[in-house]
Amino acid sequence: MVKYSATLDVTFSALSDPTRRTILSTLRRGHASVTELARPHDISMPAILKHLNVLEQAGLIEQRKTGRVRMCRLTVGPMQAAADWLSLYRVFWENQLDNLGRFLERTDPEKAKKQENKACRIPPSHPPRRS
């Protein structure tokens, strides 16, 4: 069975590095070779390989060697679990905060007071008839 929570830790730790985020962003467009992934970064090939290994261990990418070329691609699993947790709770809390806003408005003592005052000022809808 997949250890989801442990995976989440690893996922977020892997995502905490800007070079690795750039690599993931490049891979969002499709497969890429290690050379292609290294190009935008001013760092050594061993450093890039190290970043790729971190991403692979976090299950965020897969590496495959074809001849002398090492290709990488995104795997969606763990990032999806983290994103699901975040987006579900974001929806939940945004929703609850809307509800709280409505509750506070409904129970606003100032507003109730104002309405009471207004009620007093409203002239009777049927003016008293003159006898």
Partner: protein, 150 residues
Amino acid sequence: MSHTAVASTTSLVVSRTYPASVERVFKAWTDANQLGQWFAPTDDYTTQASVDLRVGHEYRIAITHKGGNVHTILGTYHLIDPPRKLVYTWRWEGGPMADTLVTVDFTPEGEATKVTITHEQFTNTEDRDKHAEGWNGCLSRLPRLFAPTM
């Protein structure tokens, strides 16, 4: 209680400002009767809350769907600093998930109050195995309850 053992977190921050005093907003969050009046995902649910507002003591929020299904959130207060801050654990009853941690900051901004919720899925090495089993069950039951109000 401290959480220095936290190894890493997935954390979510949501905030909102209300034209209400910090005391009113804090009370809405900590008074069982008031909490029951707003803490429901949509109109299809009713909420029954019980609150024992003391550090180390429990709150419980039962959210009942009109069809009869009940989802209960429960946890323990870790910090109570009225009317400015609350820290409590968060867990779905009967679910395999271990506790998560919710921090609510109530910040006065003139006459208004800013509420900031930080919800953390925290894991230390001891908790890790407990957490591990949880994600499937938890994530599969959340969407039903968390569907936004349309």
